[in-house]
């Protein structure tokens, strides 16, 4: 492969290179081991401490629950369901409300955000009203929706859509405003129509902002669905939580929270996958390309 004259330095170079990369790998492994040890230790201290303190009655398990009790209650919920039926129905209902709310809310947020970001006049006309609506504690709208639409899934979907909408809307709006002027002039000169500009420039450019907002938005969708269910429902994890609260069963409340946390983490993971796929064009951030 290489000539005789440069064979020696090449050999030498690759030797130190492999040695260096081996050392770097070892250092990385060591760091990861420590990281995970620390993480596990943290969980053990927190959950173990909770368990111990409640066992020793320093903290009253009647009010604060107990990790072992929460775990048992969770399994019990999955095995025997609630008095209203299978726990899976509850989970499914909450999930359905949250996903619908998330879908409608973010779709409306993106469309309106992009439209207003494009149109200065419209943005200036509607701006103050959007600020006012944003200042209203929207969670209270849940009560109105329940009164208006009964205790089916509609009011929950609406509530979570409203919560999601504002998060996504503001990000989409800002994203459109941040579009690079030079790029915009360039595509205009190339003869792009308004629609083509939106499709090829505005939306992809705003997507970074929009997707960042989707992470928070799904959390809001779940909150909307749960609050709706707490206010009045036939099925749903929120209802399970409220029932547990009514029967002074903190383990039941925590069990509901645990399930919701798992759902949100899974959703977060899926959104991250979507983000990677849609934003694959982005240069790797400096932290990702770790320096040795």
């Amino acid at each position: 492969m290489s000539t005789v004259t440069d064979a020696v330095p090449a050999q030498w170079g690759s030797d130190t290179d492999t040695a260096a990369s081996r050392a770097a790998k070892r250092a990385r492994r060591r760091r990861l081991t420590w990281l995970w040890t620390a993480r596990v230790a943290f969980a053990v201290v927190m959950i173990g401490g909770w368990q111990l303190f409640t066992t020793w009655k320093i903290v009253d398990p009647f009010f604060y629950g107990q990790p072992s009790g929460i775990w048992k209650r969770t399994l019990d919920l999955f095995e025997h369901g609630t008095e209203f039926g299978s726990f899976w129905t509850d989970i499914f209902t909450t999930l359905k409300e949250a996903v619908y709310g998330f879908g409608f809310g973010s779709a409306a947020g993106i469309v309106l955000g992009v439209a207003l970001g494009q149109n200065r006049f419209l943005a200036e006309v509607l701006g103050p009203y959007i600020k006012i609506v944003n200042a209203i504690p929207r969670i209270v709208l849940g009560s109105i929706f329940i009164v208006a639409f009964g205790i089916g899934i509609t009011p929950k979907v609406l509530l979570s859509a409203v919560l999601v909408f504002f998060v996504v809307f503001f990000n989409a709006f800002q994203g459109v405003r941040e579009v690079d002027r030079g790029i915009l002039s360039n595509v205009k000169v190339l003869g792009a129509s308004q629609l083509q500009i939106v499709r090829h420039v505005t939306v992809p450019s705003a997507l970074t902002w929009i997707i960042a907002s989707l992470h928070t938005a799904f959390g809001f969708a779940i909150v909307g669905a749960l609050v709706g269910e707490v206010l009045g429902a036939q099925h749903g994890v929120g209802l399970v939580i409220r029932t547990a609260q009514g029967s002074l069963d903190p383990d039941g409340v925590f069990a509901g929270m645990l399930v919701i946390a798992v759902i949100t983490l899974v959703a977060e993971f899926l959104i991250t996958l979507l983000e990677r796929r849609l934003l694959s064009w982005r240069p790797p951030s400096p932290t990702e390309a770790a320096a040795i």
């Binding site: 030079g182 002039s185 595509v187 450019s205």
Partner: protein
């Protein structure tokens, strides 16, 4: 030299010659409103002509309204007074058949190299397949075959410029507007890009309006050099550069006596302006 007026003779763009690529800038004036509410004249009564197929460079000190002029020729911006006529027709909105190359890359970072070059034909309604073939062909011409699927951030500055060049030329524009396109490049890359630009320009022969603050660059590339004054911007002098074409490598051209002679002549005129502009900014800061 600044050409006499022969505007009246062409009411409609005709396709017999290349008359439709003549740029006539007449009495162009641009005023802005400052944040304080005062009118600020950036450009006053600028008049010059770029003949069809001519390479015209505009030089001048910083802030003399070079870019403003270009904005109005492209139709992105509107003059406060005066007019720009392209091929005898007054510019009103984005002019057709014009491509623009900016100092900063105007590439879409979320599209691949091929996707970026494809945009021009796509916007003009060329079918997808054909647009793709055209884009591939132009990427080959600028020496970027094999980089079609890269994203702009994966390329060097010089390569991104090539992509920009391919994207500007793929539409086979009759007019090419360039706003310090090579300003941000290192000296070697700049020389290479200039030579390549000349090569590509000779294939298509669009009229070029090339803005730069680098007089060497202007003389090496252009047939005509417009020197502008600053504050407010106006035309100080117009020089015709009669170096023979094809000019070959820009690096070698610099040492030819004819080049040096022309360069000196224009520099004498430009220096005054640069010094004046410098004194003004320095005085303003002190």
């Amino acid at each position: 030299m600044a050409s006499g007026n022969d505007l009246a003779s062409m009411p409609v763009a005709n396709f017999t010659g290349r008359e439709d690529s003549r740029i006539e800038v007449t009495g162009l004036t641009k005023r802005f409103l400052t944040p304080k509410g005062e009118a600020f004249t950036a450009l006053r009564d600028v008049t010059f002509t770029v003949e069809p197929g001519q390479f015209c460079a505009v030089v001048g000190p910083t802030g003399c309204g070079k870019s403003t002029t270009l904005g109005m020729v492209s139709g992105l911006d509107r003059p406060s007074a005066g007019s720009v006529r392209v091929g005898g027709r007054e510019v009103d909105g984005v002019t057709e058949g014009v491509s623009f190359m900016f100092q900063a890359d105007a590439l879409l970072p979320w599209k691949t190299v091929l996707g970026n070059v494809e945009l021009g034909p796509t916007f003009r309604g060329v079918p997808k397949k054909q647009a793709r073939a055209l884009a591939r062909d132009w990427l080959r011409r600028v020496g970027l075959a094999g980089f079609e699927d890269h994203h702009p951030h994966q390329l060097s500055g010089g390569m991104r410029k090539r992509v920009g060049m391919a994207a500007a030329l793929v539409n086979e524009p009759k007019i090419l507007l360039m706003d310090e396109p090579f300003g941000a490049l290192d000296v070697q890359t700049k020389a290479i890009m200039q030579t390549e630009l000349l090569g590509l320009w000779e294939q298509l022969r669009p009229s070029v309006l090339f803005i730069t603050h680098d007089l060497d660059e202007a003389v090496a590339l252009a047939d005509r050099v417009v020197v502008m004054t600053s504050g407010p911007g106006s035309v100080k002098a117009v020089y015709d550069v009669d170096l023979p074409r094809p000019r070959g490598a820009v690096q070698d051209l610099r040492y030819e006596p004819r080049f040096i002679d022309i360069q000196h002549r224009i520099w004498d005129s430009l220096r005054e302006e640069v010094e004046r502009a410098y004194a003004r900014t320095a005085g303003g800061n002190a």
